[in-house]
């Protein structure tokens, strides 16, 4: 199962995904995907550089599903909620805009 590496930005906690260039994106669609254990470890090693540079915290790899149209969906409910950068609550007076 493919995986992506996620983290939170140190300054504000915002959810980030590691890109293939070693940068970070809020959009999981642009995340680098790893297929094998070695590839996952290589991505995690890349992410560690950003940890040492005080850019992100709480780094980990998590499994995703790649759909037929190429879009990426996290497997767990938790990660689907994180990827949306908002709560799942329906439109409300304080709701987080998508």
């Amino acid at each position: 199962m493919p995986s992506v590496v996620t983290a939170n930005r140190l300054t504000d906690g915002i959810v980030f995904y590691l890109t293939s260039s070693g940068g970070w994106t809020e959009d999981i669609a642009n995340a680098a995907r790893a297929e094998t254990k070695d590839e996952i470890e290589a991505l995690e090693a890349k992410a560690e550089v950003s940890v040492r540079n005080q850019f992100v915290i709480s780094v980990y790899a998590m499994p995703v599903e790649v759909k037929d149209d190429g879009s990426v969906d996290p497997i767990s409910v938790r990660e689907r909620i994180r990827a949306s950068h908002r709560t799942t609550l329906t439109k409300d007076w304080y709701d987080v805009p998508l």
Binding site: N8, L10, T11, D12, G13, I14, V15, V51, R52, N53, Q54, I57, S58, I75, S76, V77, R78, I81, R82, H85, R86, T87, T88, L89, T90, D92, W93, Y94, V96
Partner: protein
């Protein structure tokens, strides 16, 4: 309420600049996350799913309008315009940025508030009865004792690195409205053999993955010894509590593994050996603290108000709100008013900054400058002149917070769940909203009567599901959110842990499940019987049959 002296002001300001420095060192890389994490937690700052969360201490749930307005301002300026009142009588901001936290703490310090010891393995915010100094059944105001315990436990050098967090609740009334039996230490003010007040001391209560009802370690403790006795309990726990296993580290595990008698012997031996005069508060200092809690002057007034009586006759919505949210006050002509934060469709316990501002205004206009936070996630104006109730209600209607469901099914306790929380396994808020929609009709809730429905999104039980008459626990089963139902819990004097009725249900089924439970209760209840009374008489069988046999 308690007012900071020069020492308090200086101390909190020093803590703000200390944390400002720590944040700067973290951002510069001088501190690693491993080094910084315990420091931020000691200042109530967590990393959640989407952002940092800041937990602000509201000591024993008492707020001034000035403080509430400052919370509103913080929400507006540094968060997303709202805050979440919790079952610990605290307030959480869900979207704050690390770089802003020092400014937020400075803003809190301006109004004598902070976030110290809202996290970490230390003594947390002491909680209490939201109707203190107003309730008709009160023996003694618990707030001075909460304040004494707060001052004693803040940065206590011996108890800042306990095996696990430690929660104390104090109630001074006949009815337990602070869930004291579900705390590490529960203190009940009771009348002693000679007619004087003292404490019945409970120990080892708690929720989480191993729920226990607290046990009485001392039937009567002279109140002047509260600090030395609590200190002995904490010392025994600190020495004997487990530090090798996070899940077995709370005092409830120690008390139950050791047995109450052995635990009591250890505490009493420590207490006997304690030089009490060095710890217990001198009378003059106690009186000084008590003087901060002198209730407002409430001259007796006419208990009957014609305009109020007429409105109850003519306006069913008002009559419903009045019946549930207006409570008898100990002084004739006054009432305590519950402002429900449980309007159907909204997140239980959330209040927007605008709403907080309005409630602060109303507390000044009608509430003698006092607001209380109930652990059931509502706000309370404890002292309202009965003749002002109609005007207060109309103002609440204008703000959309005149929901008359206090203590009814719609008055659910609900944790933030997987929409916010890093520990959660399942969502809770959307489920609460669906249940609220299902039971929106006030007439139906009225027919059901008082019923405590509590929901947690994980086994840590911040939503007190174990103590709900109906409890809902969200779990993750192979990637699917399932909801386990417990029945028969109670947070009151008849405290009990709910019984699991059977396998969990999928999210979309939960409103039907609650419907079935309620219908089964109504079909089985004798006239005037509460949910708990029916449950205790008929047991699990009819509920189980209704929930599972048709599946």
């Amino acid at each position: 309420m308690y007012r900071y002296d020069e020492f308090d002001h200086a101390f909190v300001k020093e803590r703000v600049s200390e944390f400002r420095d720590q944040v700067e060192r973290r951002l510069s890389g001088a501190l690693t996350e491993e080094e910084f994490r315990p420091l931020r937690l000691r200042n109530g700052l967590y990393l959640q799913l989407h952002a940092y969360m800041l937990r602000v201490a509201i000591p024993y749930g008492v707020l001034s309008p000035r403080q509430l307005r400052q919370l509103a301002l913080i929400g507006r300026k540094w968060d997303r315009g709202y805050g979440h009142f919790t079952t610990r009588q605290n307030l959480q901001f869900n979207w704050v940025r690390l770089v802003d936290i020092p400014d937020v703490l400075a803003a809190l310090a301006e109004v004598e508030m902070h976030c110290i010891q809202t996290s970490g393995n230390c003594v947390r915010n002491v909680t209490s009865d939201p109707y203190a100094a107003a309730a008709v059944d009160e023996l003694e105001d618990p707030r001075p004792w909460c304040e004494i315990l707060r001052q004693w436990s803040t940065l206590h050098p011996e108890f800042n690195w306990l095996p696990r967090k430690f929660k104390i609740a104090v109630s001074g009334a006949v009815e337990d409205r602070a869930a004291t039996a579900f705390h590490d230490i529960g203190l009940r003010i009771v009348r002693g053999p000679d007619g004087e007040n003292g404490f019945r001391v409970l120990v080892g209560g708690g929720m989480g993955r191993t729920p226990y009802v607290g046990q009485v370690i001392r039937e009567f403790l002279p109140k002047e010894h509260i600090l030395s006795y609590v200190e002995s309990i904490l010392r025994v726990y600190n020495l004997l509590g487990r530090r090798d296993n996070l899940y077995k580290a709370r005092i409830k595990i120690l008390v139950n593994e050791l047995g109450l008698e052995k635990f009591r012997e250890a505490v009493e031996a420590d207490w006997e050996a304690t030089y009490k005069a060095a710890i217990d508060l001198p009378d003059d200092e106690r009186h000084r603290i008590e003087s901060y809690f002198t209730p407002p002057e409430l001259p007796e007034r006419d208990a009957r108000d014609e305009a109020l009586a007429a409105r109850r006759e003519s306006d069913p919505a008002f009559a419903n709100w009045y019946r549930n949210n207006v409570l008898t006050h100990r002084v004739p002509g006054y009432a305590s008013v519950v402002i429900s934060l449980k309007e159907p469709g909204r997140t239980p316990g959330d209040a927007s900054s605008d709403t907080m501002d309005v409630i602060a205004d109303l507390a000044e206009r009608f509430g003698h400058d006092e607001v209380r936070v109930n652990y059931t996630q509502n706000l309370v104006l404890p002292h309202v002149v009965r003749a002002d109730i109609v005007a207060l209600y109309d103002a609440l209607v204008d703000t959309g917070i005149a929901t008359g469901n206090n203590e009814l099914l719609g008055d659910m306790i609900c944790c933030p769940g997987l929409d916010y929380c890093n520990l959660a396994n399942a969502r809770s808020i959307p489920i609460a909203k669906e249940i609220a929609k299902r039971f929106e009709d006030p007439a139906r809730q009225d027919l059901i009567g008082k019923l405590r429905l509590n929901m947690s999104g994980c086994i840590n039980a911040c939503g007190h599901h174990h103590a709900g008459n109906i409890g809902i626990l969200g779990v993750d089963k192979k990637g699917t959110e399932l909801y386990q139902i417990t029945l028969g819990g109670s947070p009151k004097d008849d405290a009990a842990v709910g019984t699991i009725v059977g396998p969990g249900f999928r999210a979309e089924k939960v409103p039907d499940v609650i419907d079935t439970i309620v219908d089964t209760y109504i079909a089985n209840r004798h006239e005037g019987e509460s949910f708990l009374e029916t449950w205790r008489r008929v047991g699990v069988a009819p509920f189980k049959e209704a929930l599972y046999d048709a599946r």
